[in-house]
Amino acid sequence: MIAVELRKLFRRPRTWITIALLNSLPVLVAVLLKVTDLAPRPGEGPAFLSAVLTNGTLFPLAALAIVLPLFLPIAVAVVAGDSVAGEAQGGTLRYLLARPAGRTRLLVAKLVAIVVFVLVTVVIVAAVGYVVGTALFEVQSLGATTAVSGTSLTPEQVAGRTLLSIGYVTISMLGVAAFAMFFSTLTDSPQLATLGALAVLIGSSLLFTLDAASDIAPYLPTRYWLSFVDFFRDPIQWRNVARGLGLQAVYVVVLLGAAWANFTTKDITS
């Protein structure tokens, strides 16, 4: 069943178009930086971007930071929102369930496919970022990379921490996926499920900037998204990373539980 869902997802042209579009923004940013040589000052603009002119190997992280606030969650919400509602709208859900695929199995297979999609997407963004970054910018092959906190990192450390960041960003996206998937079991319209998940994220981002909402800020799903920057402090600061992982875990468990409870007891009338 999982293989079936993966085949469906990755044989679909839309999946690859989404990933390609997702990569276009970091590439555009890289080209603009190269042409104008105008990097944002440290502390301004997307994380890591100020450093890439002098070290192209940091561009994968800059690329992740660029797509993380909006592009990546949109892509995840589109795929996860489509998961059940898309099958319902297309009429294939009734055939899958009469096959019978099993409602719980189908939901689990969809979830695994989404996780794989997120991972593949994040890895591709990082890989394209690496290729573009090392092609356009200087690479400090012998010297060490300067960490956010000022000390030096070896290329191996940069590589290892980049992998940690890829994992963290992937997990951060699972909260979005869980929202979209839950909504996807509530409606037969994939667009509605996607927009619902995006509304949650936009609401969360907005509240995060509001002082009056500071009491609930630690529980907002987008609160710790950019904490992967902490992997590049020396030593690594685990506090926010750990909180981010815990928070995503709670959202994922609660929302998927609700999605399961709803989907396994509902009448399929689509």
Binding site: M1, A3, V4, R7, K8, R11, R12, P13, G90, G91, T92, R94, Y95, L96, L97, A98, R99, P100, A101, G102, T265, D267, I268, T269
Partner: protein, 305 residues
Amino acid sequence: MSGTVIATHGLRKAYGAVRAVDGIDLDVRAGDIYGFLGANGSGKTTTVRMLLGLVLPTAGTVEVLGRPIPKAAREVLPGVGALIEGPAAYGPLSGTANLSLLDAAGPGGSRRTRKARIAEVLEQVGLGGGGKRAVRGYSLGMRQRLGLAGALLRRPDLLVLDEPTNGLDPQGIHEIRLLLLDLHRTGTTIFVSSHLLAEIEQLATRVGVLDRGRMVLQDDLATLTAPTGATVVTTTDPAQAARVLGDRVLTSDGERLVVRGSDPAEVNTALVGAGVPVTGLVLQRPTLEEVVLAAATGSGDRVAA
């Protein structure tokens, strides 16, 4: 295979105060071609969905191939082929890829034989040359055939088909009818839901009629359309015929007389002996349409709850 293939007891589905299906007892036996008739909105589709575990009953039980649904769905449904409210497939993928994915999505479809089974069913439904094309480019009739191919993929003991000839042209309808009769001959029980009486009359051995969520009729087609004990006579001299037969004439309409008597030969002898020219002579049988309309009008004045 013998005995009961589909049995429901007091099956009911309520959406709020509306009872879409209101206590029906289906009885489909092995070897039947069961025609499930009813107007649009009479509850046919909801019933079909309950048979397949898609809609959960409010009350009552469903048994398919001797096992309870939805509880034993995982064991039962691999042996059931279904076409539910029109076909559905993934547009960007080919017909073959769609069948392959559907087969892999559940138990009971061996991966080893998959390719051969797909080629065989595509041939069977008349899509032998179209399997490689993307479904997006299929006509409605081709999609219907592909849906039917999906239903046949695991050589099911039972076919549950909702409006199987929808979107097909007359030749297509004829082809599918022959295919279904052929499958029936080889032992497949077929449950066809339709609102097309003529189609069911040509196909079914047993009929159930649904009216506003209630079962108003369920019997063998041969019994329902059995001779009424009257003979229909066509003659160019109806006045003379009426004089000869006297009070045996039940009704007359132009050159057509309905005469009491279940032996056309005897009626013929009487008329010809009196010099009345007889141009047509046949046992009277009610059509399925007459039977269904008679059964459904009884509740025509009912107001749905």
